[in-house]
């Protein structure tokens, strides 16, 4: 049993907190870099995950190799956390609480292919046939099971429940972690998927990243219920509402849900409420519809700044360390993005893409 697992019901270790920080910062720098590239026209479309790091990174920390991850478009934090081994990227620099991947699976290669993917390059996971995070990578040897965004949103949930059910059928204790937004909770598949997962006791953890807007539509025009977590009661499963800016709180809730799922106790819904900082996608103006109150709140609620403040306050790190990690992450991202961009210069011509598996 890994250290992180042992700690689930208690406090996070210092090492785990620093690891969170590294991946939250890496995700932030990733976002900032590709946002810039979007503005140059090098990226087709960009949906900012800035502000979601305190949900995605801790949640993905609760799963391991062999567990299945289902993500949407603001989940770079979860993807980076699930794919990468910090020790491989930066030997000796950041404490490691838990080895991420099996030995032999190159984090660097996954990092590079992810950059190629969001740039639409041929070396990306979908070989340029799919945009941004709409791709899958399932590698049995690497115990990597990642299903990327299905744009019909709620449609992800039954698929994730089915993957969870398959893992259970095999007698393993592996689980599926599925992210959905507040918008996706209004689809029929949200109901069908969760209900079936509950009836079949599929080991599914559904994390709702409630950023309070479906594109431009505020939650008051989306649902009349007090909370989305409260819906869990209707399926006979636990639901929890948590502050999505609080990495430790998210980690504790998701950790409990993962434990339940591994113990055969079925699915859990976790609603992590977060303030959306940006438009729906970069380049749209939906954020102009935010209420004055929401806009003010957004300025004050930067989960990464809050988290870094806590680390300094607890005397875990210095400001110099934080600057150093920021610069290091920015460099890692810059390098990988540049390599991915360069790969587009010499791509093979796209051949005929088969529609059927052979």
């Amino acid at each position: 049993m890994s250290e992180t697992q042992q700690l689930k019901t208690g406090q996070l270790s210092d090492a785990a907190l620093l690891e969170f920080h590294f991946f939250m910062r890496l995700s932030r720098e990733w976002e900032l870099r590709f946002e810039k590239l979007f503005r140059t026209g090098a990226v087709a479309k960009w949906y900012s995950a800035v502000g979601n790091e305190a949900i995605t990174v801790p949640a993905a920390t609760c799963i391991e190799a062999g567990d299945a991850l289902f993500t949407l478009h603001r989940d770079s934090g979860a993807i980076l956390r699930y794919y990468l081994d910090v020790e491989e990227l930066l030997p000796g620099r950041v404490p490691v609480s838990q080895p991420r991947r099996k030995p032999g699976v190159a984090s660097g290669e996954l990092f590079y292919r992810l950059a190629c993917q969001v740039l639409g390059a041929a070396a990306g996971f979908s070989e340029g046939y799919e945009r941004s995070y709409h791709y899958n990578v399932i590698d049995a040897d690497a115990e990597l099971i990642h299903v990327g965004m299905i744009s019909h949103l709620g449609a992800m949930i039954p698929v994730a429940a089915g993957a969870a059910f398959a893992l259970k059928r095999r007698g393993s204790d592996r689980v599926a972690l599925n992210f959905i937004g507040d918008g996706g909770t209004s689809t029929g598949d949200f109901h069908e998927g969760l209900n079936m997962a509950a009836v079949l006791r599929a080991p599914l953890i559904l994390v709702i990243e409630n950023n309070q807007y479906a594109l431009s539509t505020p939650v008051r025009q989306q649902y009349a219920a007090e909370s989305l977590a409260a819906r869990a009661a209707g399926y006979g499963i636990p639901g929890a509402r948590v502050d999505g800016h609080d990495a430790e709180a998210v980690w504790a809730e998701v950790g409990r849900a993962v434990d339940r799922a591994r113990n055969g106790e079925g699915p859990t819904v976790i609603e992590a409420v977060v303030q959306r900082l940006r438009g729906h996608s970069e380049g749209d103006d939906s954020h102009l519809l935010f209420s004055e109150e929401d806009r003010k709140a957004a300025l004050e609620l930067d989960c990464l700044r809050t988290f870094e403040g806590k680390l300094v306050e607890r005397d875990l790190v210095s400001r110099d360390y934080l600057d150093d990690i920021r610069e290091t992450c920015a460099r890692l991202v810059l390098e990988v993005a540049d390599r991915a961009l360069a790969s587009r210069e010499s791509e093979p011509e796209a051949g005929e893409r088969p529609i059927y598996a052979d």
Partner: protein, 337 residues
């Protein structure tokens, strides 16, 4: 037991499907069934009766009334390498799971080169006064979608072989099974030594000439093949030789066999039970016009259900369905060209 083939392997169309399911479940532990009432109840047509007792409820999974949830779960399980077979209670209800099929399952391989080995069984068709919500032939909805395979067996032996091929195929396969044929159509199931591994391993384009003739080609699938054969038999006494081609697999379509017969006879009738407009006959007629035009002696002709829902009144339904008389009439008219 309806799911056991008789010793001499004479079986109904329904038993042929059940027999294939049972044999594939014995052969491969990844194969499992999902659907409404499929476990203890054996499905509303009793096709899966006895399977839960043999294979346990982990492999014959009752689902809530949730077609989208069920197909979506099957896609998720298939992505991880399982081999789910979903029973949609009536093909009419697959509309509730449409998105999971046409957007999630069908496009998965093209998008990500990951296969979705999934079978969705669609008990289809009318002829029994089941009315607008329980009589439809919905295959054309899906034939417009790249990435899905669609089979529509007419005979018990094909129902058996195509179910095995559908289960072993790494792609999503819609298995269009005709309710009218369930207990009326009987045939001799092939013995293992009579079927090549190749034909069982994948759903491949494969039309079959089920009656030879040198005057008019008749293309059909499902129940209507039987009616086309009746019409051809009646016409032979009048000196008209109709060649009946059972398409069997609609996607991918066997263009070669179609073209060979059409080029030989120069006259072609396409018969299906689904409504005329936008039906699969339109696509076949278009392909023939494009690729066999210089061989045609008459315009390709279609005979199909009128563009209306299927009514409950049996006489109205019976009159609307293509039947041996109307098929024979259409063949005669083509023959006169």
């Amino acid at each position: 037991m309806p799911t056991e083939a008789l010793d001499d392997r004479t079986s109904t169309y329904l038993e042929a499907i059940a027999c294939a399911l049972r044999e594939e479940m014995r052969r491969d532990s990844r194969v499992f069934l999902m659907g409404q009432d499929v476990a203890d109840y054996g499905g509303v047509f009793k096709l899966t009766q006895g399977l839960k007792d043999e294979f346990s409820e982990d492999r014959v999974v009752n689902t809530p009334i949730a077609e989208s949830g069920t197909i979506g779960m099957a896609v998720g399980a298939a992505l991880l390498g399982e081999r789910p077979v979903v029973e949609i209670q009536f093909a009419d209800f697959v509309s509730c799971g449409f998105n999971q099929l046409v957007n999630v399952a069908a496009k998965m391989y093209y998008r990500t080169q990951l296969s979705v080995p999934l079978v969705v069984r669609l008990p289809s068709g009318g002829g029994v006064g089941a009315g607008p919500f329980h009589s439809q032939n919905v295959e054309a909805w899906f034939l417009h979608v790249p990435g899905l395979k669609v089979v529509a067996p007419s005979f018990a032996e094909d129902a058996y072989v195509l179910m095995k091929a559908a289960i072993r195929d790494p792609n999503p396969v819609l298995y269009v099974e005709h309710k009218y044929l369930y207990r009326r159509e009987k045939g001799l199931l092939p013995r293992p030594q009579d079927v090549s591994d190749e034909s069982l391993s994948r759903v491949r384009a494969g039309a079959r000439v089920v009656r030879s003739g040198d005057d008019v080609t008749v293309l059909s699938y499902g129940w209507m093949v039987h009616r086309c054969l009746e019409a051809a038999e009646a016409l032979s006494a009048q000196g008209v030789a109709a060649e009946v081609v059972d398409l069997r697999v609609l996607a991918p379509l066997d263009d070669e066999t179609i073209a060979r017969s059409v080029k030989k006879n120069g006259k072609v009738l396409i018969v299906h039970e689904a409504p005329l407009t936008g039906g699969f006959g339109a696509e076949i007629a278009a392909r023939i016009s494009e690729h066999c035009f210089e061989h045609l002696d008459a315009p390709p002709r279609r005979l199909a259900y009128p563009d209306t829902p299927v009514p409950h009144q049996r006489p109205v339904e019976a009159e609307s369905l293509p039947n041996p008389t109307s098929i024979a009439q259409a063949i005669r008219e083509l023959h006169k060209w």
